[in-house]
């Protein structure tokens, strides 16, 4: 259609106009139906929690699924997002577990083998679910992120002690139609909340509490026996 309009044009002026129209049509054609793509690579350091450490020697194992965790999601007719959360999760858990336990040993594999002999328990976190939402109308002013970790706690010989789902929620004021920084900020807030929950409530989880109680009783009996 553009070409035929050009053919009927008179002189160079019309041809210049046609090339402008063609360029405009090309831009419209190339962008029509497309969604923008955003990458949120969470890169930040997390503080060590100010909590009293438990008198335990813990082995911490970060599974490959956690180390390389990514999440991709398309919001229909709006945008496509890709999150990289593995590195940040390790950055979150390292200071949390270091503050939570008296001694921490990073484990390369499970079962822990010879290293297990020097441990009281093993903790292996997983990132199970990650969800987010961005404003699609004027009334909503925040991006929101919700995530769920699951902490697997074992004895050194691999007997399960507890399996604890820990959630984190974060929101951040949205800016623009591709709120990459807001999503980053909300994700960091959600991770901080999950870290806060673990560092404050780990010892009071019913299964962990019972195990700690049993361990304490056993120690008392051993000490009393001689």
């Amino acid at each position: 259609m553009t070409q035929s309009a050009c053919q009927y044009g008179v002189g160079g002026r019309s041809l210049r106009g046609c090339s402008g129209i063609a360029a405009l049509l090309l831009v419209i054609a190339s962008t029509a139906g497309c969604t923008s793509t955003g990458l949120v690579e969470v890169e930040t350091s997390f503080p060590a929690p100010l909590v009293e450490s438990l008198p335990l020697r813990a082995g911490v194992f970060f599974p490959e699924e956690l180390r390389g965790f990514t999440h991709s999601e398309t919001i229909p007719q709006h945008s496509q997002w890709h999150f990289e959360l593995g590195g940040a999760s390790i950055e979150l858990f390292n200071p949390v577990f270091s503050a939570l336990f008296d001694q921490v040993t990073l484990l390369e594999q499970l079962p822990a083998g010879e290293q297990a002999a020097y441990l009281d328990l093993i903790v292996a976190p997983q990132l199970e679910r990650f969800e987010f939402d961005i404003p699609r109308n004027r009334d909503v002013k925040f991006v929101e992120v919700w995530m769920q970790y699951r902490l697997y706690v074992y004895t050194p010989d691999g007997t399960p002690i507890a399996e604890w789902p820990v959630t984190g929620y974060g929101k951040s004021p949205a800016s623009g139609s591709m709120p990459r920084n807001s999503l980053h900020d909300a994700t960091v807030r959600a991770m901080r909340e999950a870290g806060a929950t673990i560092s404050i409530r780990f010892a009071s989880q019913p299964d962990v509490r019972d195990w700690l109680q049993e361990k304490s009783n056993a120690k008392t009996i051993v000490n009393a026996g001689g």
């Binding site: 503080p47 909590v51 925040f142 806060a196 560092s199």
Partner: protein, 245 residues
């Protein structure tokens, strides 16, 4: 019928052109007058409630934190930065502690889900191992909890712009109303109580009239709220022997 001569046509065109210019100027004057009458005005409502005497001694600092547990609103980072900067300025400037350092140093006790909601919870928090020592290290005596936000509450009018190879321009009148509503609760970490609250509410109408070129008249409610809040906070904290009530 007699056809008009070329001179008459030229005269008519000149008259039409002059008339168009006059009409455009009249419209511009009318729109600008409406804009001036309705914009630039920011109305303020400030309230201060004092529960106990305050005062800032040498070395004592203030930290300004946002209340984050509401789903609908949260004080903007730049607003809190603005209030902090305003409090720091001047000969009698106050020492403002870094929000990030405070939150990281006291992690996880001031996160949205764990932060104390009332000053009555402070003694229990400070009794936790290491918390009181860390607070002493920060040098913070007052925590200012900032709540609220700036919101666009109303708007209307019509502003249309067009562009063509011959040029472009806009015509019409657009307006919107913003409300900057904030409340600061001041906690004294020395006495473990809420020393008082300051609330500011600034509303204003912004107008953009346009005859070819849009001329914005922006009501800067957030900037005004920042100044108002900072003045009130300074007075509240420094003039600590003000009558209570």
């Amino acid at each position: 019928m007699q056809r008009p001569s070329s001179m008459q046509v030229a005269d008519r065109q000149l008259q039409d052109s002059g008339l168009r210019h006059a009409r455009m100027l009249l419209a511009l004057a009318f729109i600008v007058a409406i804009a001036l009458m309705t914009s630039g005005c920011v109305t303020a409502d400030i309230e201060q409630v004092r529960h106990s005497a305050t005062g800032v001694e040498r070395g004592e600092r203030i930290v300004i934190l946002a209340r984050q547990h509401h789903n609908s609103h949260e004080a903007e980072d730049d607003f809190m930065q603005c209030v902090g900067n305003a409090l720091e300025r001047g000969g009698r400037g106050l020492e403002i502690a870094s929000r990030k350092d405070f939150l990281n140093g006291l992690y996880p006790w001031f996160e949205p889900a764990t932060a104390p909601l009332t000053a009555e919870e402070l003694p229990a928090l400070l009794a936790r191992p290491g918390v009181a020592e860390q607070l002493t290290l920060t040098g913070v005596r007052y925590v200012v909890w900032m709540d609220g936000m700036t919101d666009r509450v109303d708007g209307g009018g019509s502003l249309a712009c067009a562009i063509s190879p011959a040029g472009g321009g806009c015509f019409g009148l657009g307006w919107w109303e913003t409300d900057s509503k904030y409340e600061a609760a001041i906690w004294d970490l020395k006495t473990f109580d809420q020393a008082g609250t300051i609330s500011t509410d600034y509303t204003g109408r912004s107008v953009v009239p346009a005859v070819v070129i849009p001329i914005p008249f922006i009501a800067r409610t957030q900037a005004n709220a920042c100044r108002g809040m900072a003045d009130q906070l300074h007075e509240f904290l420094v003039v600590g022997d003000a009558p209570i009530g």
